[in-house]
């Protein structure tokens, strides 16, 4: 049996969620799990107009591959896809997607859960959130490594 494939996507376009699901779906894998993160509004009681996502594109891909390597070291996965959108997103639009297939449900579900937690810590992306009365860089996580 050939090994499952890993796909990484960093784009300034709308995430093509249904095509990602198709990409990881294959008869020999009986489970497909998805996690889509979308722009929330209201956030902290403020109406969000949009979020501008800034990213270090090439490093995002490097870190996505590390996320995938970690998941594959822990879980028997089929195909795995992780995508992050950059640029301007409005409430309700997806900014991140993880889609995993596996022979049985547990691995695909865990890949999404562990994968999103790790991606939020590792991917070099920053949110600039604009609400009806404010515009701020969203406070982030420094769990990825030592700070200066």
């Amino acid at each position: 049996m050939s090994e499952g494939q890993t796909f990484t996507v960093v784009t300034y376009e709308v995430l093509e969620l249904s095509s990602y699901v198709e990409r990881v779906t294959e008869a020999r894998y009986g489970a497909v799990a998805t996690f889509f993160g979308t722009v929330r509004s209201p956030n902290l009681d403020k109406q969000v107009s949009y979020i501008d996502y800034e990213g270090y594109e090439s490093m995002i891909v490097t870190q996505m591959e590390l996320v995938a390597q970690y998941l594959r070291s822990e879980l028997q996965l089929g195909h795995f896809l992780i995508a992050h959108r950059l640029g301007r997103c409005i409430p309700g639009e997806a900014s991140i997607a993880l889609v995993a297939s596996s022979e049985h449900r547990k691995e695909a579900l865990l890949a999404c859960q562990w994968g999103i937690d790790r991606a939020k810590d590792l991917l070099p992306v920053w949110k600039y959130e604009v609400t009806t009365d404010s515009a701020t860089w969203v406070e982030g996580s420094s769990a990825a490594g030592p700070t200066l």
């Binding site: 490093m59 900014s95 070099p124 990825a144 490594g145």
Partner: protein, 99 residues
């Protein structure tokens, strides 16, 4: 018979030029705003580690504070004690908030 001896009395000139090293420095989000650009190319004449580079950048850019920032070397998170090599890309950025 005349000999030119003056050359031997002069201090020896350094025949080897100081070797310079080029590194690329990237800033993102609020740090990019503080520096006013995303990318700098720097020539270094002495070996530096990432923390020493950060100190130098703070001295050169008033309003730039790198305290509490993450740093990456060639797209991997690293300890600030890591020494830089020719052609390296160093990135400084605030805690990440993707997803």
């Amino acid at each position: 018979m005349s000999h030119i001896i003056t050359q031997n009395t002069l201090p020896l000139q350094r025949s080897v030029k100081l070797k310079t090293m080029t590194v690329t420095v990237l800033f993102f989000a609020s740090l990019r705003e503080a520096v006013g650009q995303r990318q700098l190319e720097l020539s270094l004449t002495e070996p530096l580690n990432v923390r020493q580079l950060a100190d130098r950048l703070e001295a050169q850019h008033s309003g730039l504070s790198l305290t509490g920032t993450l740093c990456a070397l060639n797209e991997h998170y690293i300890e600030p004690t890591q020494t830089l090599s020719e052609g390296d890309t160093v990135a400084f950025f605030p805690p990440v908030s993707g997803g």
